[in-house]
């Protein structure tokens, strides 16, 4: 491999990595915001994302809805679904003094139910793509080749991130969510209603999941097992420190880039295992992730 090949691969890997990484980053943000406000590591994130894709697919294919309406309803339905899960199930699990393990199992249960429901519809029997709003024309940046769709995905993801940032810093709801994340009891004392904020955070995570699904499914095929993608989002969240939103974004881009570079330089076979190696390396060097705060030691 000559120097110029290496340089070409690096350009291509980084740019393609930014595109897929932006979707991992969105999902990682959804995971982190739920974890910060409710202490739940949401193992059903991938299936929520997958269900959103299938709701949109169902409306488009079976009911022949126009794209904008299908997309909108998919977002709303996913938000409601997530909020409902928090309100009916997780609220109850938390109330019965469920610890981390119990919460993880409850979310795993939700994941199984969602997957089973999607399989029941039969839509998932053949892998499909959602239609793309943007043509897949190739575009050359430096020496790397992307498609117009790739740029649209990256652009839309960045816009969503900015909107989230604005929401968390400039709106009362966003600030209330952050307050709950910092100190839930303190937030309660100043008059924030915990259960309603938590529902809103889950709903917001649902919205972000649905947008991610709409962004990535024109590019990759959707199957009932696509929730596996959330593992990469988890990897991203961990690398970022698991309780830091900017960390989740950076982690998402890192995972995307690592994945693509490994695919180009080593083998496409090794892509699957690359994120886990990345997690191990980061955690061994910095057990609290890149952006995580000090490790908390449980006192007696």
């Amino acid at each position: 491999m000559s120097i110029s090949d290496i340089w070409l691969f690096i350009q291509q890997g980084v740019l393609s990595g930014l595109v897929t990484g932006s979707v991992y980053a969105l999902l990682a943000v959804a995971i982190v915001m739920v974890f910060k406000t409710t202490d739940v590591p949401n193992f059903s994130q991938g299936e929520i994302f997958m269900s959103a894709g299938y709701v949109a697919l169902f409306l488009l294919v079976v009911w022949n809805w126009p794209y904008w309406a299908a997309a909108l309803l998919a977002i709303v339905v996913t938000a409601l679904l997530a909020a409902l899960f928090q309100h009916v199930v997780m609220q109850r699990v938390t109330a019965s003094r469920g610890a981390g393990v119990q919460m993880v199992i409850a979310t795993l249960g939700f994941a199984y139910v969602l997957k089973g429901l999607v399989r029941k519809t039969g839509l998932g029997d053949t892998p499909r793509s959602l239609p793309s709003l943007v043509p897949q024309d190739p575009i050359t940046i430096g020496q790397a080749v992307l498609t117009l769709l790739d740029l649209a995905i990256l652009g839309a993801a960045v816009v969503v991130m900015l909107l989230l940032w604005l929401m968390f810093t400039h709106t009362r709801t966003g600030q209330a969510m952050r307050a709950v994340g910092m100190n839930s009891r303190g937030a309660q004392i100043v008059g924030i209603q915990l259960s309603s904020i938590r529902m809103q955070v889950w709903a917001l995570a649902g919205v972000v999941s649905a947008i991610s699904a709409l962004l990535i499914t024109p590019k990759i095929l959707i199957t009932p097992d696509i929730g596996h993608l959330a593992i990469l989002a988890f990897a991203a969240a961990i690398i970022g420190g698991f309780s830091s939103l900017p960390g989740a974004v950076v982690g998402g881009f890192i995972i995307g880039i690592v994945e693509n570079l490994v695919g180009l330089f080593i083998s496409s076979n090794a892509i699957v295992v690359a994120p886990f190696m990345a997690i191990m390396v980061v955690l061994l060097a910095r057990p609290q992730g890149l952006f995580g705060g000090k490790l908390q030691v449980k006192k007696v």
Binding site: F35, R92, G100, F110, V113, K120, I238, K298, K299
Partner: protein
């Protein structure tokens, strides 16, 4: 809570279990024996996970990987040399334990969600190894395993494997209880309740954590070895996160920190997952529903129903 009371009820349960297991081979069909063999493998897996999560409080999600190491090691040794299977199972347990030691080193640096995800990553990486190390594991085609042998006897049926599986499972159960009652068991629980307090009492927390991982991995390795006694084929697909989740479910729904719970959970969820195999279209919905309902209404698991002890107790 009188200790004698639970002790004797345990005796009764054990006697009942032993009776069922003793009578079973005379009437049951091959399929039933296969399921019972499988349940005992799950019980040993659950006991191993109980040691690391229930006793020591280290949230590890890599159990399927150690199970796989046990299966492949034992199976490969049987395929090549046909030693008495006790030796090949021991080899599987030792290799699993050695890898468990390395993973235990991770636990020294991280806890809770980080540990869970690092071990999860390790589990996924191991499954990848099983799938892609084709010269050894035959990759995604799966691997055929020759019947295990001992003293000229080849175990070719579930019925022939059954007595050995029962004996090994009973031994592992005894070992778990013995560990729980020893100083080591107390050290495990001290670490679970608080690292700092355990250290202050003079517990070597680093050693204890690593040893919990080693033991848990060895148990999973033995479970893998037990599996080779009655199974003739292994596919990496069955060694992924789903298996880890199934075992985790057994331990948690059974009742975290309770040996009876782990065994009861293994029996019940082993049966549920086997029965649901008959109804694949509803399998995931029912299974997921059960998990959510249990966590909502009986988060301390089945064990809390029997003893009532967990009710007033802080987690």
């Amino acid at each position: 809570m009188s200790r004698a009371a639970t002790f004797s009820s345990d005796r009764v349960m054990l006697a009942l279990l032993a009776l069922v297991l003793a009578v079973l081979p005379f009437g049951a069909s091959g399929y039933v024996l296969y399921v019972v063999n499988l349940l005992m493998v799950f019980a040993v897996l659950a006991l191993g996970m109980h040691l690391v999560i229930g006793e020591t409080g280290q949230f590890a999600l890599s159990h399927a990987a150690f199970f796989g190491i046990g299966i492949y090691t034992t199976g490969l040794i049987n395929n090549h040399w046909q030693p008495p299977f006790v030796l090949s199972i021991l080899a599987g347990a030792v290799l699993a334990a050695a890898v468990g030691w390395v993973i235990g080193l991770l636990a020294l640096r991280m806890r809770d969600i980080y540990l869970a995800l690092a071990t999860f990553a390790f589990g996924e990486a191991m499954q990848w190894v099983f799938l892609n190390w084709e010269s050894v594991t035959n990759g995604s085609n799966g691997m055929r395993m020759r019947p295990a042998a001992i003293g000229g006897l080849q175990l070719v049926s579930d019925l022939q494997a059954y007595p050995f599986v029962v004996v090994i499972a009973a031994f592992m159960l005894w070992l778990t209880v013995a560990i729980a009652r020893s100083r080591l068991g107390s050290a495990f629980r001290a670490v679970r309740e608080s690292d700092v307090a355990a250290m202050a009492m003079g517990v070597n927390t680093r050693g204890v954590k690593i040893f919990a991982f080693v033991l848990s991995a060895a148990f999973a390795g033995v479970a893998g070895g037990m599996y080779t006694l009655f199974a003739s084929f292994i596919h990496p697909e069955s060694l992924g996160f789903q298996t880890t989740v199934l075992v985790l479910t057994m331990v948690v729904v059974g009742g975290l920190g309770s040996v009876r719970g782990a065994v009861a959970g293994a029996i019940i969820f082993g049966l549920v997952s086997e029965l649901l195999r008959q109804a694949p279209s509803y399998q995931e919905i029912i299974y997921g529903g059960i998990l959510m309902l249990f966590m909502m209404f009986l988060p301390k698991g089945l064990a809390s129903m029997f003893t009532g002890r967990a009710k007033g107790e802080k987690s």
